[in-house]
């Protein structure tokens, strides 16, 4: 049992290392090759945990081979457009000027329901509102609405830039100061300490403190258990 525990620890931390090596892309929407490696890694990782008679290397070696192949192929795809097309395919236009390209949809095995579902998830309920819809290589659908259906932007409404609030960053989370965010907001620890004193809340009692470049603070105190 102790051996199993140790093997699980080793596999767990090495798989985390492997996933970190592959980067954030692996955690979001996946390209075909990334999906294959993720499925393979999850299966391979379980081998040495489930089967104590198997050497731990029998799952770790293939995992790390897949990780290195994944990284090397990504690097190759960045250098060669042809390699990228072979490995990931290319985006396909399925709606242009509100007109469905049924041949493309058949080729992609993309049904009308799939398309309407993808449009609804983007708050588009009328096909006629779509100027362009593209099925990306990771299977997601990108949509460009027609001019008449577009939501006007602040620029269209000619709103002054001074009306916008700069984004807030967490500067204290659960009693811990995030120094990098303090710097980005143009403040320092002395300023923070003064603010805490003014608000009557020491840093250790703060659950979340948000701050923006205009030095506007939002405080959430820790609740007593």
């Amino acid at each position: 049992m102790a051996l199993l525990l140790l093997r699980t620890f080793i596999v767990y931390f090495l798989i985390i290392l492997a996933m970190r090596l592959m980067g954030k892309k692996q955690l979001g929407e996946l390209q075909p090759s990334e999906l294959v490696s993720t499925i393979l890694i999850s299966n391979l990782a379980s081998i040495s945990i489930e089967s104590p008679e198997m050497p731990i290397l029998s799952s770790l070696v293939p995992v790390f081979v897949i990780v290195s192949l994944e990284i090397l192929l990504s690097a190759l795809c960045m250098k060669s457009r042809r390699a990228e097309q072979i490995l990931s395919g290319s985006p396909r236009i399925i709606v242009q000027n509100g007109k469905l390209d049924q041949a493309q949809m058949r080729d992609l095995r993309f049904t009308a329901d799939d398309l309407l579902e993808a449009l609804r998830s983007k708050d588009i309920f009328e096909l006629s509102d779509v100027e362009l819809a593209v099925v990306e290589t990771n299977g997601s659908v990108s949509v460009k609405k027609k001019f008449a259906a577009e939501t006007p932007t602040n620029g269209d409404l000619k709103l002054p830039a001074s009306a916008s609030e700069p984004p807030s960053l967490p500067v204290v989370v659960n009693g811990h100061i995030i120094h990098d965010h303090l710097r980005r907001c143009g403040v320092n620890e002395h300023w923070l300490a003064a603010c805490c004193k003014r608000m009557g809340c020491p840093v250790t009692e703060i659950y979340l403190l948000l701050c923006n470049k205009k030095k506007k603070l939002t405080l959430i105190r820790k609740e007593r258990a």
Binding site: P52, S68, L69, I71, M78
Partner: protein, 123 residues
């Protein structure tokens, strides 16, 4: 990205080196044990049972020394099976059990060849 690509090359090189090391380790361990087994069978056939018994014990001890290394690359039960077979050989090192000794030694040689085949062949 460059650091990741470099890390990928390092990992790939390490994995290839490990696989080659495993290949060499398994080949050497199995070949040495097979030679020892053939030697002990030859001793037994020539009537030197005492030497054959001694060689059987030596072979089992030598194999046990490299068994931990082999278990890094091979299924543990396959390695343990061969170790058990080798430890039983010395009991047959007498005139009455010559046939059994030779047949057990042959069986263990076949097991060792299978072990090497399992690790070293692609299909």
């Amino acid at each position: 990205m460059k650091a990741r690509v470099r890390a990928a090359w390092v990992i790939m090189a390490a994995v290839i080196a490990l696989s080659l090391a495993g290949h060499i380790w398994v080949h050497r361990a199995t070949e040495r044990t097979i030679l020892q087994l053939e030697d002990l069978a030859a001793c037994a056939r020539s009537g030197d049972y005492k030497k054959a018994g001694q060689k059987a014990l030596e072979t089992a001890e030598d194999f046990d020394k490299c068994a931990h290394g082999l278990e890094m690359f091979m299924r543990r039960e396959a390695v343990a099976e061969i170790s058990v077979s080798l430890h039983g050989l010395s009991a047959y090192a007498n005139r009455e059990s010559l046939y059994d000794l030779c047949s057990e030694a042959d069986k263990t040689i076949r097991q060792l060849r299978l072990l090497e085949h399992m690790y070293c062949t692609l299909f």
